[in-house]
């Protein structure tokens, strides 16, 4: 690498995690880049001399490495079709196409930089103060502004997305973070018999020991060996504990599986040990976002893990031992140390100089030092995210100058390592060992004793120098924006955050929150502890939608005959979880077949409940509005259920198969609800009633055989039941053998208005019986028919459909079932009280009635409104052209005052045209006397 400034690749470092024997090649904005296996995208870019990784959102200033970790706010790139890849974390792979985001037209020459000149006008919240007049122009401004939206490009349409996986786990102890404390806690917990999951965000376990001194490296080797030897510990690297929810329900995302892009673990955790270490906090001063200004941990990571010298000549601004040790690391790597500025003795950095990258540093003592690297080590931010999610409110510790957990942690969440306090490596390990032991005990339901506390080391509270700089790198918010916002009245931590958008970007406050609050405190004369921190919301790290979704499995229910339907041209109808035939190509022909010959329809989704016990009639009396005392064995009866507010909730027929044995049918969509409803009555109100309910919806395949020739058809397959009208009249039930299949149930009912038999056959024989019917009826003209034909047939007969012709406010008397509602039943039934009041309701009360348009050729679409003048008073709920009558027919909801036969109605069509209609005289349009049904 030539040149006198900027990053370059060092000779082999003892600690490096790259494999120099394996070269990789990828492209960066189209140019070829080489690196080694183990390089992150960023370390490879730095090795090739590329220092600028991104540009800022608002001012489009060039940005380089800040923390060199997953959460680095300046290192987000597009990789192939994947947007917003964390380039300081993602390992480089051969063949990748990596491009900068948020640049136009290019990273080098970005037109957005004109915003820098305009910067003084683009104060936080500036958009609230302008673009108002002329009002209609905002959409135009909006279009321009949205072109500047940050972030990458979402994958193009049709991009096949990879496999994402889910797994449930139940670790006794889950440790978030694998620094020395996390490892020690995991080892101790495992030693105490717990199954442990140890989760590390980075690519290797060890935390900061990975870039430590010789003694630390030796200790790390021991710890790693101990983990490897412990079978109770499952280690997940390149994985993150994303969130903790109620009852220690913890989500973990793993990115290392060869078989999946990402896997989401859903962990029910005994004890969660939070050991994420600390985030190094950026210092706020002019030029603090220039490439070449970075955190001490970033410099050490680059040198030790990737063999990258982050610059040639460095100024180090340090306030702690880690900063001091960084000086040694830099020196050992051959970086010239131009100055060490010690905050503990009053040193300070005023500004970083340079355009595009650091060229010098101005210090508080008046000196200006030439340098291409400025490293800061001014303090730590505690990532309290996971303990926040556990409901804890961390408290500001002025001595340590960071937030610490308070005493409000739930017992199943513990902390170890830097989040809990300070100490020597040995002290931190000892403390974490004790935490791990107690965590295991608590997970096992034992007490385990009180969690020990760590001490804290004194650290100066350093947030901002005498100049203004960036507080939020992803949102381009500066310290002066915070001060201006506070002056305008946005002077609480929440308001200032919302107004300036500081902490709202992709790094979600990890580097920004404390500086935001500290500068706000400066502005309003309050301390960080007065202002408190804003709540860190889940997730700790972003999770892909793919990982959250996993393998999307949506249950689908089909009848045993569905394959046959599909093979015979059925148009699928999606009805909740069920997929059923809407029609087989010609619904009118299907209607005609039923009216003139015979048709069969698959009604398997019809809800079916098998009821057993001596008290069934009591249950039926309480859930249905009609009376059930006198239903003989062998009879079926139609019933309507209302909720307690009187609103119609379901309907269906129930047949009495034996003394203490009934079969209840429900609507297809209501099956589960009705079952639960019945159980609720039985279990909570009448536990003394002896009724046992078994859902048998899918135990039977159900087929309705309808039409004048239905008896003839079915008689060809049924041998042991007398099917004559005398022996098996309308509204009766029989059990028998159909097409050789015993134990079938036959109902003689008729939703279609035709002579019809509804048969329920053991579902594994459904297809056999279906095909037998078609075969046996070929000479009769038998046709399968679908839902559409059934809708037409029932409409011709004037039957309503619950939830289509009724809605969430339609009470029993509105549904036109007056004759069914038995208010004189002695005991309470669901809806009785409200229905009694509804009976005397006024003229506005809604009625469902059959109607006909005056022009027989116009079918008003369902939902067309019925009006009186300009007032909407009702609507068409079902409408079709009747193939039988060759005219338009409909059901409608109208006010009682307009519900009598012959009442004139005005319907507004979707076109806006008004047509006239009238209430039909009678209930059924076809066969009002029911002769077909009883024939």
């Amino acid at each position: 690498m030539s040149g006198t400034s900027g990053p370059y690749r060092l000779p082999v470092q003892a600690t490096e995690e790259i494999d120099r024997s394996k070269t990789i090649k990828f492209t960066w904005n189209g140019a070829s880049v080489t690196g080694y296996e183990g390089d992150t995208i960023v370390s490879a870019l730095l090795a090739n001399g590329y220092e600028v990784i991104a540009r800022g959102l608002k001012y489009h200033r060039p940005r380089g490495v800040l923390s060199g970790t997953f959460h680095d706010p300046n290192c987000t790139v597009q990789v192939d079709v994947e947007p917003n890849v964390r380039a300081a974390h993602r390992l480089a792979k051969s063949g990748m196409s990596v491009t900068a985001q948020n640049v136009f037209p290019s990273l080098k020459f970005d037109i957005g930089t004109v915003n820098q000149a305009a910067g003084r006008f683009l104060t936080a919240g500036f958009y609230y103060k302008t673009f108002m007049w002329p009002g209609p122009l905002w959409p135009a401004y909006e279009k321009v502004l949205s072109r500047f939206a940050p972030g990458g490009r979402v994958a193009p349409m049709g991009t096949p997305h990879g496999h994402y996986d889910h797994k449930y786990v139940h670790p006794d102890v889950l440790v978030a973070g694998s620094g020395p404390a996390g490892i020690a806690a995991a080892l101790a917990a495992a030693g105490a018999g717990a199954d442990v999951m140890l989760v590390e965000e980075d690519h290797n376990i060890g935390g900061h020991l990975r870039f430590g001194n010789d003694a630390e490296l030796a200790r790390l080797a021991e710890l790693r060996a101990a983990v490897a030897a412990e079978p109770r510990i499952t280690v997940l690297t390149n994985s993150v504990v994303a969130a903790r929810y109620d009852d220690n329900w913890v989500s973990v995302v793993q990115r290392t599986l060869p078989s999946a892009v990402e896997r989401l673990y859903k962990a029910r955790v005994g004890t969660l040990v939070v050991a994420p270490g600390l985030f190094e906090r950026p210092y706020v001063f002019e030029g603090n976002d220039l490439p070449g200004v970075m955190l001490s941990t970033a410099a050490r990571r680059l040198i030790k893990l990737y063999g990258i010298a982050p610059g040639r000549t460095a100024v180090v601004f340090t306030a702690n031992a880690e900063g001091d040790s960084c000086v040694e690391t830099l020196r050992a790597a051959g970086v010239t140390i131009a100055a060490v500025v010690d905050a503990r003795t009053g040193g300070n950095v005023v500004r970083a100089l340079g355009r595009g990258h650091v060229t010098g540093v101005e210090l508080a003592d008046g000196r200006t030092i030439k340098a291409d690297l400025l490293v800061t080590a001014t303090g730590w931010t505690a990532p309290t995210s996971l303990i926040n999610m556990a409901g804890a409110r961390p408290v500001w510790n002025q001595v340590a100058a960071r937030f610490m957990p308070g005493d409000d942690l739930p017992s199943n969440v513990m902390v170890a390592g830097g989040l809990g306090g300070d100490g020597t490596l040995a002290e931190l390990i000892d403390h974490a060992t004790e935490i791990g032991r107690i965590a295991a005990a608590r997970a096992a339901g034992a007490d385990g004793g009180k969690a020990p506390l760590l001490g804290v080391d004194s650290h100066p509270a350093l947030f901002r120098s005498t100049t203004h700089g960036f507080i939020d790198y992803t949102e381009d918010v500066q310290s002066k924006d915070i001060i201006a916002a506070a002056a305008e009245g946005y002077d609480s931590s929440e308001l200032v955050k919302r107004f300036t958008t500081a902490t709202m970007g992709p790094s979600q406050g990890k580097y920004e929150t404390i500086n935001t609050i500290a500068v706000l405190g400066e502005a309003v004369g309050a301390s960080v502890s007065d202002l408190g921190t804003t709540v860190w919301r889940p997730p700790f790290a972003p999770i892909s939608l793919g990982a959250l979704a996993g393998q999307h499995a949506e249950p689908t229910r089909i009848s045993p005959m569905q394959e046959w339907h599909e093979a015979h041209g059925a148009e699928p109808l999606i009805a909740g979880q069920w997929i059923r035939p809407e029609h087989y190509g010609d619904p009118v022909a299907e209607v005609n077949a039923v009216r003139n010959a015979v048709g069969i329809i698959d009604v398997t989704p019809l809800g079916k409940l098998d009821l057993r016990g001596p008290d069934i009639s009591k249950l039926l009396n309480v859930v249905y509005v009609n009376a059930w005392n006198k239903l003989d064995v062998g009879s079926v009866r139609y019933g309507v259920m209302c909720a307690e507010d009187g609103v119609v909730m379901d309907d269906g027929v129930t047949g009495r198969l034996g003394e203490n044995h009934y079969l209840m049918s429900t609507t297809s969509s209501g099956a589960a609800t009705v079952w639960e409803w019945c159980e609720n009555w039985l279990q909570t109100e009448h536990p003394d009633w002896q009724v046992h309910i078994t859902p048998v919806t899918t135990s039977y395949a159900s087929i309705n055989i309808a039409g004048p020739k239905s008896r003839e058809l079915i008689s060809r397959l049924v041998t042991d039941v007398d099917l004559s009208n005398e022996a098996f009249p309308y509204m009766k039930v029989r059990q028998g053998t159909i097409a050789g299949v015993p134990d079938c149930v036959l109902w003689r009912i008729g939703f279609t208005g035709e002579l019809s038999f509804e048969i329920h056959v053991p579902s594994s024989y459904g297809l056999h019986v279906w095909e037998s019917l078609l075969e046996a009826g070929a000479d009769l003209g038998v046709k399968p028919f679908g839902i559409e034909a059934q809708r037409v047939l029932r409409l011709e007969k004037g039957h309503f459909i619950v939830a289509q012709d009724t809605d969430a406010l339609t009470k029993g008397f509105s549904a036109g079932i007056d004759g069914l509602i038995k208010l004189d039943k002695p005991d309470y039934f669901s809806g009785k009280t409200e229905l009694a009041w509804q009976r005397s309701a006024g003229a506005d009360d809604i009625r469902v009635v059959p109607i006909q348009t005056d022009d027989p050729n116009i079918v008003p679409p369902e939902a067309s409104q019925i009006v009186v003048g300009s007032k909407m008073v009702g609507r068409v709920t079902s409408s079709r052209m009747s193939p039988t009558l060759k005219r338009s027919i409909a059901l409608a909801q109208v006010p009682a005052s307009l519900s009598t036969a012959g009442s004139a109605l005005t319907i507004v069509l979707p076109s806006g045209n008004r047509i006239s209609a009238h209430v039909f005289d009678g209930h059924a349009f076809v066969d009002p006397q029911g002769e077909r049904l009883h024939g």
Binding site: P83, T130, W138, A486, A803
Partner: protein, 443 residues
């Protein structure tokens, strides 16, 4: 009540010298405009305070509990439309800290019932002009609103809504899947999905707005008219004498007031408990989430009731999601994994290409649900105690019209006609509003 006419309202430019302990901005142009933005930039001047702090007075004509959009709008319209300025808005937290700052900022008026449509359409009218009314850019983005239908039944409901909307002059129409695909090319309108898109209710005037800006805009305008907004002031009790409200007890002392308005949404039951009033409210968390930003690819607001999800993309490029309320009541705002899982799988079902997009933040707000998905507004059996509650998942949309109607109701001491269907009495009377079919996941 002492009622001043609007012209007598003192011009309050900056009273912070007397009442505020905070730093004051330097004097300068206060009106928000591009010109003043430039002037401020050139002079490095600061803007005056948007809202001021005050000592709590001994008495007010009206005390409003809750400094969210409803409380602030009611205060603003009391002052601007009715000259009632001796008003305190109390909040236990900060301005817009409840549902007003936690919603997904979708506005629309394509409701199902005539009562609902007229009410929300008035809100849309106020929203359209709000930036100019308040001199605060609320970023009303009329980007179009699509409610997808995946089932035969929902196609019917969408047509129902369209028909009602059209008759009331609201721009809504039922469109087919191809048209949906033309408007939003990222949506999978093929029939290969588990729940194919059959069509949609298209409502071009629907869109999004910046929720914080609406809160701040009302707060600033109300403050300017003399209304006092007291943040971090929790109401601990309500005093009544002989069934009449006399004042409130707060964390900062007692205040007397003949009129108290409850605008506390998810916490409304707890405030009503203070006067012994039981309402048909159940508090459920409603969760929301936002992804990392990506370049804008989604123009409209897209809602799928069947898939329990709604999504829009902000100008900043983030996708903002919401879903249905939690399956059991709770005052918890901690959020759940299940919400994000369901959300993600349904969004991917609608837009398969977004699987690699990452969820950045999730949060929750509290919704006070009523049995008929309509609010409870106006008088209560306790004299002087008014409610503007029961907002469920649609409170933000109704903010402006609710403020206007509640101000009118309080000033006239008569239920404003536009909210006549939303009285408390409809429950004992059994005359519920039929909004349920449209509102279950209707954003």
């Amino acid at each position: 009540m002492s009622v001043r006419s609007a012209t007598e309202v003192p011009e309050i430019v900056d009273t912070s010298g007397q009442a505020s302990t905070q730093r004051r901005g330097s004097p300068g142009p206060a009106k928000y405009s591009a010109i003043n933005l430039v002037k401020k930039g050139l002079s490095h001047g600061e803007w005056p305070r948007t809202f001021h702090d005050h000592e709590l007075a001994k008495s007010y004509d009206v005390v409003i509990i809750g400094a969210g959009i409803h409380g602030l709008a009611a205060a603003y319209y009391l002052a601007s439309n009715h000259g009632i300025t001796n008003v305190a808005v109390l909040d236990k937290s900060y301005i817009g800290g409840g549902g007003s700052g936690r919603n997904t900022a979708i506005v629309r008026s394509n409701y199902l019932t005539p009562e609902g449509v007229s009410f929300y359409e008035r809100s849309m009218e106020l929203y359209r002009d709000l930036a100019l009314t308040l001199n605060f850019n609320v970023m009303f983005s009329e980007r179009g609103h699509l409610t997808l239908a995946h089932t035969d039944a929902s196609v019917r409901t969408m047509r129902w809504r369209a028909e009602v909307n059209k008759l009331l002059g609201v721009n809504s129409e039922l469109i087919d899947a191809q048209e949906v695909g033309r408007i939003e090319p990222r949506l999978d309108v093929s029939t290969n999905t588990r729940y194919p898109i059959l069509g949609a209710l298209y409502h071009p005037p629907g869109g999004t707005i910046r929720h914080d800006a609406v809160n701040w805009g009302y707060a600033r305008a109300a403050d300017k008219l003399g209304v006092q907004i007291h943040q971090n002031t929790e109401v601990l009790g309500i005093n009544t004498v002989g069934g009449k409200v006399t004042g409130v007890r707060t964390s900062r002392g007692e205040v007397s007031a003949p009129i108290v308005l409850n605008c506390t949404a998810g916490w409304a039951s707890l405030i009503c408990d203070m006067v012994g009033l039981k309402l048909p409210l159940i508090t459920h968390p409603l969760e929301a989430a936002v992804t990392e930003p990506v370049k804008v690819f989604l123009k409209s607001v897209v809602v799928s009731g069947s898939l329990h999800v709604y999504v829009s993309q902000t100008d900043r490029g983030e996708l903002v999601f919401g879903a249905s309320t939690a399956p059991y009541p709770s005052y918890s705002m901690r959020g759940s994994l299940e919400f994000t899982q369901e959300l993600a799988s349904h969004v991917i079902e609608l837009m398969p290409s977004v699987a690699g997009l990452r969820l950045m933040r999730q949060w929750a707000g509290l919704c006070d649900m009523t049995p008929d998905f309509s609010p409870i507004m106006g008088f209560t059996p306790v004299e002087g105690f008014f409610v503007d509650v029961g907002w469920g998942t649609y409170g933000f949309k109704a903010g402006p019209v609710s403020g206007e109607a509640m101000a009118k109701t309080i000033a006239d001491q008569m239920q404003a006609p536009i909210i006549s269907a939303f009285t408390y009495e409809r429950f004992p009377a059994g005359t519920l509003v039929g909004e349920k079919g449209a509102a279950s996941v209707g954003h």
